[in-house]
Symmetry: C2
Subunit: 201 residues, 2 copies
């Protein structure tokens, strides 16, 4: 920028909002203008909501989910199947599975995936807690619902190694053609996986 366009307070807001995923410097500036223009119905409530989040939201000590109660409302829900733990990389993955409403079970959030190049080894993820939970006699199955990426799959591989010798079944999500997917647009890896896992009709 060639000239200081506004006070340092506004510039700081622009810079902070630009760090959010989905907002660049330009859209961040638009967002700050919207905030300042809509003081009562946007700026004040957002500031309040952030302060409430800071005060109340914390990581669940059991599963790593984010919630205002501890343990989180998922862990505390007695109607969920206690025998199945669904392992995900991030809280967003837990939310996605809950929105899709596919399973009513326990969760375990790793907080990322193994990435030796970035210095993220097993000790940086929520893995020891998972091994401890897997030893509980209630737990019969661990579903590794990790991303179908190289990092996700090597993390799944590492965890299933760690679970050897513990009396639980270890499973992973099926791979294949997504619902509504057109073969012409799918990558070779997905097509190969769908072929290998073909099923009798």
């Amino acid at each position: 920028m060639s000239r200081k366009i506004a006070g340092p307070e506004i510039e700081r807001l622009v810079q902070l909002l630009a760090r959010l995923p989905g907002l660049g410097p330009r859209s961040s500036r638009k967002a700050v203008l919207a905030l300042l223009k809509r003081r009562n119905d946007l700026l004040l409530p957002l500031s309040d909501a952030l302060q409430l989040a800071i005060a109340k939201i914390a990581e669940c000590p059991v599963c790593g989910n984010l919630d205002t109660v501890s343990p989180c409302s998922v862990c505390a829900d007695p109607r969920r199947d206690p025998s199945l733990i669904v392992v995900v990389e991030e809280v967003g993955d837990l939310w996605a599975l809950e929105r899709a409403n596919v399973v009513s079970a326990q969760y375990h959030v790793l907080g990322g995936h193994l990435s030796p190049l970035d210095g993220i080894g097993p000790e940086r993820l929520n893995i020891p807690n998972l091994i401890a939970r897997a030893r509980s006699p209630d737990v019969k199955e661990i579903l590794l619902a990790l991303n179908a990426t190289v990092e996700g799959q090597s993390t799944a591989h590492y965890i299933s190694d760690q679970l050897q010798g513990i009396d639980v079944a270890v499973s992973r999500l099926a791979q294949g053609v997504p619902i509504g997917g057109e073969l012409d647009y799918l990558d070779d890896g997905t097509l190969a996986a769908a072929f290998k896992a073909r099923r009798k009709v």
Copy 2:
């Protein structure tokens, strides 16, 4: 959403952030996760910056710019040409002109454009203040730097009517082919304006 995925505090944050331009429900959820994951380097500083903005940033009583000082740092700058007032629709337009560094003059922010269908008449815009400023003997020229849209141009038309009888020159930005623009991709209106305003080389 089929199921409540998180506490109401998190849902509220997602809803508020989704009201910002550039963020939809999906990207807002990603943004909230990023905030909660990066508590110290993102959530806490953003909350502080918003509180500071609420406490310190206000509309300049002279020109309608947003700043932490009153009158704003643009109005208070003695090096700026006092004889030219550049009229813009929004603070974002003022920032754009300042970034482009094209002029060092006074500004006047209308706070929008006339839009009879939305019930926005002249009394809702910062126009009376502009007329009063135009009467000052220091002011020689009013540049109507409004958007080249129907609303912007009819607002410009209304303002130049109001300025009749006051001893100032009224001007507007040139219209034509944008720098780097390819004729093939320009709309008919721009081509017609560029043709009508053609200049001798």
